[in-house]
Point group: C2
Chain length 332, copies 2
């Protein structure tokens, strides 16, 4: 029951975008961990780590460094990087990823699980806040109040996927999209009435767009608001702004949201469980979650538990640097 | 990884106060469970179960029924019942309790753990919402945002312990006490400034008291507001009301509260995690938590994991009747 181990956990970062930089920051705040190195497909000499002394290597040297790494934190994207990287690297390393394409999670799990079992490594996929912390709340809400309904609201926050979709439209130089919960829907859910809500009733979308020189504003607006799946099912507002305004007002990556379970334990008695995140930086908080789960993965590996896991399979105590005894005395 | 088992989990309730009745209601809402029986120290013939067909027995027949019970849910009090019952019954049964005297949890754990290990049973202590769900949030908050501060606020809700303390004062016929978070403190915490808050700054207390005939109202008020630990460190309001008003307006047992973790992932970037419960009935929600953890205890027992656990040691997936595969596909 004592999870404490004296040697620091040696973490390596694979990929150095916003998420990778967040993992660097998170490791610096966890004294039981050390950053063994950053691995990149770019030229290592061009990369600027937070701490000047951090070793930076090309991806091709990762395997040779295996003996010096306890857990990899994969910081690539769910579309092109993780589907290949996670199964391939689980054949050599224990690892954590933030794979967030919900519909493809079962398939991704199977591939990573097979690789990790065969190699005797331990992997945890889809950590972060959604999937991740919000998933845990959806599970707990259902388990504690089986007669009930769960609602997930995202925002107010900057959606990377929707921002990318805007930027692909001809005539758009740059732009960002904020997802915003509809207040009235939130209030109805909090009141416990368990409403049925359409996509439009739950969230609205607000876009800040910089046009290319000479682009047709009305055409761009219509291309955005009519875009299937991304925007057509929502009330969308489009603001055209200058590149200077975009850089000044929309460079941060705040996000958040909440999960509400509204349920009944017997006739007439209602309960509500609400979990809310308010994040100044989506990638930095996601990174903080990845790093806590890297600790759990290391412990599972040390105790001989191999194969793939998700946040559903990890006892919360494994996330904390404290011993089980400390946790009972201080936090229970 | 597949937790599903076809036979329903046979739960027995020990003790039939508000919490025991809540467990009856909760079992009725979980189709993978059956209520094997209610065990009481009172006269079984005097007890009215929710479902007329539920078997009610005296405590002395519990051991003889061991073969028909998978998990006991202990519904006694933390002061006099559970310190004896949990270790004694863990020698024969897998069980869940809601032991909530925070300072005595480590000692209680050791006793139950020794009994359960020796007997090969599985026990989980201190389930409920605090200790329980709030403890999980305190742990997760610290693990995800190590540079931060955690605040627990209780209420608005009826506190059993403080209500009992009022009722022991000479001249008091009956009374209830509500614990209420101080709005200003909550707002400061939510803003991310991590304030240092005294007990008085965090909560206030409101009492509704029925006097005995001829009692001295001012004396009772002073006895309440000056009571060490319970009231003297708080701003306390005392209202004198009639027995009819008490019965009409204060018979319900609502409660709730929230845990807020406010932290930073790097300089200047702040995040807040807030978990909030709003409960029409404190005992019914506590019972719902106990029942979900009874499911987990049964699975741990089935997989050969014996000894004592707390909410920190249980993988969330074990609380759900769904399989790990279903959970990944539906909730992650």
């Amino acid at each position: 029951m004592d999870h404490r181990s004296t040697a620091p956990i040696r973490i390596a970062i694979v990929g150095h975008g916003n998420l990778g930089r967040g993992v660097e920051a998170a490791i610096a705040r966890n004294p039981d961990m050390v950053l063994a190195g950053i691995y990149t497909r770019r030229d290592p000499a061009q990369l600027r780590p937070l701490q000047p002394g951090t070793p930076v290597h090309g991806m091709d040297s990762l395997l040779a460094h295996r003996a010096g790494i306890d857990v990899l934190v994969l910081c690539g994207g769910s579309k092109d990087d993780l589907p290949q990287q996670s199964p391939a690297l689980a054949a050599h390393f224990s690892l954590v990823d933030s794979f967030d394409t919900h519909a493809r999670i079962p398939g991704h799990f199977e591939l990573v699980d097979a690789a990790a079992r065969a190699a005797g490594t331990t992997a945890l996929i889809s950590a972060g806040w959604d999937p991740g912390m919000f998933s845990l709340q959806r599970l707990m809400g259902e388990a504690l109040l089986p007669d009930g309904a769960t609602y997930t609201f995202w925002g107010k926050g900057l959606s990377q996927g929707h921002s990318d979709a805007i930027r692909r439209i001809p005539g758009v130089a740059c732009g960002v999209q904020y997802t915003i919960p509809v207040d009235e829907a939130v209030q109805r859910v909090r009141s416990g009435v368990r409403p049925e809500l359409s996509a439009r009733e739950r969230h609205r979308r607000e876009c800040f767009v910089v046009l290319e020189h000479g682009a047709d504003a009305d055409g761009v607006r219509q291309a955005i608001t009519g875009m299937p799946h991304y925007f057509d099912e929502y009330d969308t507002t489009v603001h055209f702004i200058s590149a200077q305004e975009l850089a000044r007002d929309h460079a941060a990556m705040p996000h958040g949201g909440f999960v509400i379970r509204s349920g009944s334990s017997s006739d007439g008695l209602r309960h509500s469980i609400e979990y809310r995140l308010q994040l100044d930086s989506n990638p930095e908080f996601t990174a903080s979650v990845l790093v806590a789960y890297a600790r759990a993965v290391h412990r599972l590996q040390q105790s001989g538990q191999t194969g793939c896991r998700t946040v559903f399979d990890v006892a919360p105590g494994l996330l904390s640097p404290k011993t089980a005894q400390q946790l009972r005395a201080e936090l229970l």
